[in-house]
Every structure is written in C-alpha cells, then in structure tokens.
Point group: C2
Chain length 230, copies 2
DNA sequence: CATTTATGATAGCATTACTATTATATTTGC
DNA sequence: GCAAATATAATAGTAATGCTATCATAAATG
C-alpha cells in the first residue's frame, strides 16, 4: 500500500523549479507559506521578499528554489492538477460503469475543496482558492508557447484527456469532449468565484450545490447520456 | 437614426477614468495605442511610460486620464462588453422567435471577432484578443468587491442578464440561466486561446467553427430546446 | 574533521508605478 | 485680440519590485 502511494507521489515537472522544494525543510516551508501568503494578499502583491520575512528566511534563499514568482505559481498549479488526477484515479477505482465514473469525476472536479490534510505542507483548501483566482495567470502570458513546449501544462492536459476518455467510452461519436471538460473545469472555478463576488453572474439554489448540479446536468445532456443519479 | 445611435453610444462607467478619453484627441490616441501595445507586449509588460513614448506624449499626461493601468484595462473591458451588448441588441432586433434570438446571441458572443471599423480609434479584433487573454485580470483581484460596488462590472452583468432572459423565455423553468451564459462566454474565450496555444484542450473540427457549434449545441441541449438551424 | 553544500546577510541595480513641480501650448470667453 | 483658464509636456523624484552578486556562516556528508 505504501508503495502504491509512493508511486503516486505527486511529481511536478522538474523544470518549474531550480531545486526541488520537497527535498528540504526550507523548500517545504517555502511552498507552505507561499500558499498562505498568496491566499492572503493575492498573487500581484506577493513577493519573495515578503515571503522571506514571513518564514524568517531570505529572499536570496528562495530564489535558489524558484527562478521567479511565476515559476512558483506554475509549481503550485501543476501540483494541484497532479493532485486532482490522483483524487480522480482513486475515486473512480473499481467503478465499472462509465456513466458512474463520469458523474463522480465531475463531482471531484467541480466541488468545493476542503482541507484534507493528506499532504502536510499543502493546504488544499487555500490552494484551491489560489487556483481559482490566479491559475489563469499561469498560462495567459506571452510565454505560453515556450512554457508549453517545456511541458509545464502537461498535468492539466493529461487530466482533461483522461476525463475526455470516459466521455468517449459513453458516447464515441461526441465531437467535443476536450472542449466540454476544459470548459467545465474552468467554468466551475469561475462560478465559485462569481458566487462569492459577483453573484449576479450565477444562480444559487437553496439546499444544493448548484455548481455541481449544473455541471453534471449540462455534461450528460451535451453527450446525450443519462446521469445515473437523476 | 443618428439619435438611436447616439443613445446607444458606448457609455463606459465614468468612474473608471479621471478624464473621459473620448473627449480629446490625446484621450482617443491613448486608448487606440494602448490596445496596440497591450496586444503586442501583454498587460504585464505594458506601462504608461512605454505608451507615452509610443504616442510621443508623456507618462504624466496619461495619468490625467487613467489612475492606473488597471483602470485602463477596466475601461477597455467595459467598453468591450458595452459594444457586445450593442451588437446583440442590433443583431436580434426584429427577430420574434426566442430560439432564433438565442442562437444568434450565442453566435455573436462566441464567434471570432474581426475588425469592423465602426469605431475609429478602436481595433475590435485586437481588443477581443486582449479581452480573451487579460480580462480575468480585471476582476480576479483582491479589490473585486470594492470595484463591483463602484459598478465597474455593470456592463458584463447586464449582458449576461439580457441573454439569460431569452433562455427564460424559451424555458421558464430552467434553473441556471446565468451560470450557463457566463460559463459560455468565458468558456468560448478560453477555447479561442487554447485553440491557438494549448490545442490538446480543444477539439478542432475541419470546416466548421467548433467553438460556435459546441456552444450552440451545449446551450440548447442544456435548456431542453431545439436549435433552429439543426 | 575536512570539504562540500545549503542557508543567511547585505548590497546593488534597472525598472515600475506613481506623484509633484514647473513650463509651455492651446482653447475660451469677453 | 488678449487675458485667463485649461491641457499638455518635460523633468525629477520616491518607494517598491524583481531580480543578481558577493561573502560569510552553518549543516550535512564522506
């Protein structure tokens, strides 16, 4: 069992960091506190100098792990997508019916994330908030093509690919599986943000998680299948 | 007719600027060149100093029109959503059937934008690219609640509200019209970006605009209606 | 215990995002 | 046609940012 876990240990593309932050106490502290600080002040106002003060360490030391704050953001988002894939892989294990697997995958992709404590130095609740608010800044840049070549978005693409495969299992003729899943993921993130800050762009419904329900319903209708629990 | 146009003239919330850029040649030049420059170098690398050099004017002069580059971005995105609402208002005029109106609205919201030259100092083609790549930076900020209170997102919210109303005309029991439309708009923008830079997240189909087709199909299926042209 | 490696402290530099001041055009109202 | 108001330009300055470089010291390793 331990082995299974180890083989699933979240391996972020090693080109996003200079020195692997998992490899030292300082590295883990950098990751842990960067999540707190970005969540608190936002990515724009976040600086390595402030982070250094926060962890009673040094700006220059942080630069030995990450080339820039953008690379650190890329590290955090990559880690998040790896983690999401791991959640889905485990969550769908031993479920044979593709409809049920799809339903569960959608839930896992769109639900509100709570702290689960599986990874000591990572607060999944705050990381989810960061991914919602800041992840577009990791790819909506002038360097996107370069970064893509270096494989920085591989985790996200792989995740989208996996869920698309379930769709194709259910309906092999559906033409837009990748579009549907990537729209769903980004859309659910946006909706969580809107629900908090721009509620006129959403539709809250008492007693249900409208974002999950909307996502399930829209997906199954789009591919012309029936959602198992409806 | 002129009057109709005038009453439709694109009125951006006057709190996003200090002095209305439409009111002077310099102001229009600032807007025109900021679109070129942001499109060229990206919003992060865009500065008022560079813009001043570009238009052979002065950094300080630009600050008399816009408090900061964020406010300028807010101006550009607000203008864009006003323009989109105007396109839709005209595009749907005299179409009685709500299904046809919805189909046309989706097309207008998700299609690729081309230069149309109706507004001398605004290049709609480039502005659309900016909105796709940078608009999330205008609301995914720590100041979103403050900015929302000041009405900076009113145009966007109004647009979503209008199209949602068409959905409710077709199916008054549909529970998530705002979610559907805002997901659609943001989703289509993301897809245009992905198609160019991260194609594994989309599904290109030869001979059709897959993004428009996907959007129409998903919307009509979600609300349980039939798309007129299918 | 000698040497490599990791961290800390300090300094420095070009650029950014502004603000302030003063000078010069340009418009306008009479 | 000219004074007064207004808009723009030129220049300088400031605190903060996003780094890089250097040197000293601490910790791990062989």
């Amino acid at each position: 069992m331990q082995d299974l876990f180890t083989s699933f240990s979240l391996q972020v593309n090693n080109r996003v960091y200079i020195k692997n932050p998992e490899s030292s106490a300082l590295g883990r502290k950098i990751v842990e506190s960067s999540i707190n600080l970005i969540d608190e002040v936002g990515f724009e106002a976040f600086t390595f100098r402030k982070l250094g003060l926060e962890i009673h360490s040094n700006e220059a030391s942080i630069y030995r792990y990450f080339e820039s704050k953008y690379k650190l953001l890329l590290y955090l988002t990559s880690w998040y997508w790896c983690w999401m894939e791991y959640r889905i892989a485990f969550g769908l294990a031993n479920i044979p019916a593709p409809e049920e697997r799809l339903e569960k995958a959608i839930k896992l992709l769109t639900e509100n994330i709570e702290l689960d404590g599986s990874f000591e130095h990572i607060n999944e609740y705050k990381l989810n908030k960061i991914v919602i608010a800041e992840s577009s800044k990791s790819y909506m840049t002038k360097e996107v093509d370069q970064n893509n070549k270096e494989g920085f978005f591989a985790g996200y693409k792989q995740l989208v690919g996996r869920v698309s495969d379930i769709i194709l299992e259910i309906n092999p003729t559906y033409k837009y599986p990748h579009m549907l899943i990537s729209t769903l993921i980004e859309g659910a993130h946006h909706q969580r943000f809107f629900a908090q800050h721009l509620p006129r762009l959403t539709d809250a419904v008492n007693g249900e998680d409208a974002i999950i329900e909307f996502s399930k319903e829209a997906t199954f209708k789009a591919i012309g299948a029936k959602c198992p629990t409806k």
